[in-house]
């Protein structure tokens, strides 16, 4: 882990009508760091993800990726700039194969144009072959290569989660946002997932921001944890510090 800050937010906030969903959100994510974002239901965790990926435009504050202000960027521009995500409720491309799901994300960095695609020139074959190999390699890392030709929606739940992470990685992100990756998983699957996340961090050069309710997962792998409630940061620090913070205990258990 280096000290270089890759993603930073400055007083980030969004207001829906009269409701302030997130306010004064200040966060720094360093290179190769794994940070957990936790908070009770409705605290604004997913809203923060939506702000960071351009789904919502912030009404105040700034998002800074590697020194560049990202306000006003669309989701696909955010993805191209290096912020990729998964979704709380799995959003795979149904009706497409496992391999194709990954290829879609890879495809955005491909070069051949429409005419070359229709008439199948040399560059079409070259690039298609290249991403076919890349995509299979990526699937192999997640032990999904044997399902490459299956339809994505026919995978078991745990595998679908993995495929979503694989798809996000295919966009070659610098920051990976995981929205409740362990939701609905049994303890064995969760343990396997923790291992995968560790692996990802080691093999890919990226930082991870993780939303999770499963405390064993969050406490086990995160270096730092940010706790929010009612759209505001109420605590941050190491897992131990956070777990013993009276404000956090109050937010979760009621005062």
């Amino acid at each position: 882990m280096s000290d270089k800050i890759i993603l930073k937010t400055e007083n980030l906030g969004i207001t829906f009508g009269g409701l302030k969903a997130v306010g004064d959100f200040n966060m720094e994510l360093r290179e190769k760091e794994l940070v957990g974002l936790i908070g009770p239901n409705g605290a604004g965790k997913t809203t923060i993800f939506n702000l960071l990926t351009g789904v919502y435009q912030p009404t105040e504050g700034a998002i800074i990726l590697d020194g560049q202000t990202m306000n006003g960027k669309k989701p696909h521009q955010m993805a191209k700039a290096g912020i990729c995500r998964t979704f709380q409720n799995i959003r795979l491309f149904k009706g497409m194969s496992v391999l194709e799901n990954v290829k879609v994300a890879f495809g955005q960095n491909m070069k051949y144009n429409v005419a070359q695609g229709i008439f199948r020139t040399k560059s079409y074959w070259q690039e298609e072959k290249e991403i076919d190999e890349k995509a299979r390699e990526l699937l192999k890392m997640f032990h999904l290569e044997e399902f490459a030709g299956n339809l994505a929606e026919n995978l078991p739940y745990g595998q679908q989660r993995k495929l979503e992470i694989a798809r996000a990685l295919a966009g070659s992100p610098r920051v990976l946002l995981l929205d409740e990756p362990a939701a609905g998983m049994n303890p064995t699957e969760t343990a396997e997932l923790m291992e995968s996340i560790e692996n990802i961090r080691r093999s890919f050069d990226l930082s991870i921001l993780l939303i999770e309710h499963d405390m064993s997962l969050v406490m086990g792998i995160c270096e730092r944890i940010i706790v929010i409630d009612y759209g505001m940061i109420i605590a941050s620090g190491t897992p131990y510090e956070v777990a013993n913070n009276p404000k956090v205990i109050g937010a979760y258990l009621g005062e």
Binding site: V55, P75, H76, A79, F93, K94, Q108, V114, G117, E128
Partner: protein, 341 residues
């Protein structure tokens, strides 16, 4: 390059398949079994296949309900026809150029309509494209260059079965190769989940407008073919009902299946011709066919399935040999549809 070798074989198989079908029809015509009337029907089938396949690109592959396809066809028909009337060139060249002009003009309108409209979704898009189709009809009825309400006459009859057939084959092939390229994958991804597609880096607005424009382009080509087959254009032929008829072909065949569009266009056009004598009953049979399919197979006749001639040949061939039970790797290869006319 195993991938490209298999595809080349598949391309060859499809080309031979298309050529054989063409040769059979030509032989039947020479023998007098297919008369002038039937040839005319075959041309209409080709045109309807082009229309259904191109609408399927927007409605099936991209998943956007567009109800103005006849509008684009009409633009292509008038643009192509006006060119053909004034063109001093020989018939075949005039036809090809007029198709390109018709397609290009329709594509320009597709782009102009698509940019503002495709930010909307579902019902809104349907209503606006519907309105667009009607606007085009009213404009065509009132312009002088399009012959006004009495229609455009004196269009040379340049369309023959050979051109219509091969244009159709090319259009189908282009649709297949497009959908198996990275652009096609992006289009399918948008249809499956546009939020996830956008998050995966797909420029959704761009691809929506792009698909809509391509769709309009091919509708324009079909229009140009149509105008020089009928020889007379009246704006009423391209009303709202026409758009719905094309949509019915797509839905009946299966949204997202070009095979389905081809079969449905062939089947329903034939049915329409067979029922010509009982014109009062025609719409009833038409509607009944649709209701039955929707009741028993809501995803359309073919769902998202695509027929592959190569696969069929392989299956027959391997059964005889009895050696390889599986089809080997599950790699799905780009296939061009064997054209059914």
């Amino acid at each position: 390059m195993k991938l490209s070798a298999t595809t080349k074989r598949s391309n060859l198989v499809n080309l031979i398949g298309s050529a054989v079908l063409f040769a059979v029809i030509m032989a039947l015509s020479a023998a007098g079994i297919i008369d002038r009337y039937l040839q005319g029907v075959l041309i209409i089938i080709c045109i309807n296949i082009i229309l259904a396949v191109s609408l399927n690109l927007t409605a099936g592959c991209l998943g956007q309900l567009a109800l103005g396809h006849a509008g684009f066809m009409s633009i292509g028909a008038y643009a192509g026809a006006i060119f053909a009337i004034y063109s001093p060139l020989p018939g075949e060249i005039t036809l090809i150029l007029s198709m390109l002009i018709g397609g290009a003009v329709a594509a320009v309108f597709g782009l102009l309509v698509g940019i503002p409209v495709l930010r909307l979704k579902g019902d809104y898009l349907a209503i606006i494209t519907l309105g667009f189709g009607e606007i085009i009809r009213v404009i065509m009825e009132n312009l002088e260059i399009t012959g006004g309400a009495s229609g455009l006459r004196g269009i040379p009859n340049n369309t023959n079965f050979t051109t219509a057939y091969w244009v159709m084959v090319i259009v189908i092939a282009v649709h297949f190769t497009l959908m198996w390229s990275r652009h096609g994958r992006s289009i399918k991804a948008i249809c499956a989940d546009d939020i996830a597609a956008e998050a995966a880096g797909v420029r959704t607005t761009y691809y929506k407008v792009f698909t809509f424009t391509i769709s309009a382009f091919f509708a324009g080509i079909a229009g140009a073919l149509y105008s020089q087959h009928i020889g007379l254009l009246s704006a009423k032929a391209f009303d709202f009902n026409r758009s719905i008829e094309i949509l019915v072909l797509v839905v009946l065949g299966g949204l997202g299946s070009f095979t389905g569009s081809i079969v449905a266009a062939t089947g329903l056009t034939t049915l329409t011709e067979l029922l010509r004598e009982f014109s009062d009953w025609r719409m009833l049979v038409y509607a009944l066919a649709l209701i039955l399919v929707m009741l028993f197979k809501p995803s359309g006749l073919f769902g998202r399935y695509e027929f592959s001639l190569t696969r069929l040949i392989d299956r027959i061939f391997k059964k005889e040999k009895g050696s390889k039970p599986s089809r080997g790797p599950e790699k799905k290869l780009p296939k061009k549809e064997d054209a059914k006319v």
